[in-house]
């Protein structure tokens, strides 16, 4: 048995061991089943092609995750084409603020019912995840991608903008509008639901 065969045997074992984890992670980032499957398949394809670069003493799960991470990031980057901030977003702002920029009475931030709970607890709640994913999907597509990009990587906002070749101002304004809309949706469907 050659070295190559030996390594491919390992790779088969990793498919069995790590596919579920890789898929779950891809899905949590993309919220798209088919895409997540494709990304995981591609990950193993790349791993197969670059098995000789894998160092025997590193952790295969970490190695595979880093390949997948690049795949997900590339996906978002390709999908994002710098949206114009102005068109849709003014409507969001107008729905929240009056002409002089004050909160409209019914939009003024109020304490959330879960203000004291920590985030971890909420993220364990399947119903909450469902609501949050639903709210994300209601964003205009490019805003959705902008939000996914911002929260996917540990990269600083400025760095993301450089790589995307978009103006930082445009990018954070989109995130600002997106979060206003998301917040409204979360309040409606979760935080301010009276029990």
């Amino acid at each position: 048995m050659g070295k190559q065969d030996f390594q491919v045997d390992h790779l088969r074992e990793w498919v069995n061991l790590y596919t579920d984890h890789l898929y779950a992670w891809a899905y949590s980032k993309t919220n798209d089943k088919e895409l997540s499957e494709d990304l995981v398949q591609d990950t193993f394809l790349v791993a197969h092609q670059s098995l000789n670069k894998f160092r025997g003493d590193s952790n295969p799960k970490t190695w595979l995750s880093s390949i997948l991470k690049n795949k997900i990031y590339d996906h978002f980057r390709k999908k994002y084409n710098s949206p114009q901030v102005l068109s849709d977003s003014e409507a969001v702002l107008e729905s929240m603020f009056d002409e002089s920029g004050r909160w409209k009475k019914e939009e003024r931030p109020k304490p959330w019912s879960d203000d004291d709970d920590d985030e971890i607890k909420l993220l364990d709640d399947k119903d909450f995840i469902h609501v949050m994913q639903g709210c994300m999907k209601e964003l205009p597509q490019n805003w959705h991608t902008a939000v996914q990009l911002k929260y996917f990587s540990e990269k600083k906002g400025e760095e993301i903008c450089q790589e995307l070749d978009v103006s930082p101002t445009n990018f954070w304004q989109i995130i600002h509008r997106s979060k206003l809309q998301l917040r409204k949706c979360l309040e409606k469907h979760w935080f301010n639901q009276s029990n």
Binding site: V8, L11, R12, V15, N16, T19, D20, H21, Y23, A24, W25, Y27, S28, K29, E37, V40, Q41, F44, L45, H48, L93, M96, F97, S100, G101, R102, W103, R108, P109, K110, P111, W112, D115, E119, I120, L122, L123, D124, I129, M132, V147, K150, Y151, K156, G157, E158, P168, F171, W172, Q173, I175, H176, K179, L180, L182, R183, L186
Partner: protein
């Protein structure tokens, strides 16, 4: 005095880039007088945590595994 609309913008801008001294002071002044915008910032940070975190489902993907293994054999 900044408007609340502008303050929510700066609250976001701050997470991307360093604010100018003038902006920082204006933001702090506004928040010290406006409970709604202070609360907005707190809730905005909470949303950041929620959006950043993973929520891993434990789905089993046997079909996907088979598919990948089949590809590797080719």
């Amino acid at each position: 005095m900044l408007s609340c609309k502008k303050v929510t913008e700066l609250t976001e801008k701050k997470t991307f880039t360093k604010l100018s001294n003038k902006e920082s002071i204006q933001l702090a002044m506004h928040k010290s007088m406006c409970g709604a915008c202070s609360l907005y910032e707190k809730q905005s940070e909470k949303m950041d945590q929620l959006l950043k975190n993973d929520y891993l489902d434990n789905t089993k993907n046997e079909k996907l595994k088979e598919k990948i293994l089949k590809n590797l054999n080719q």
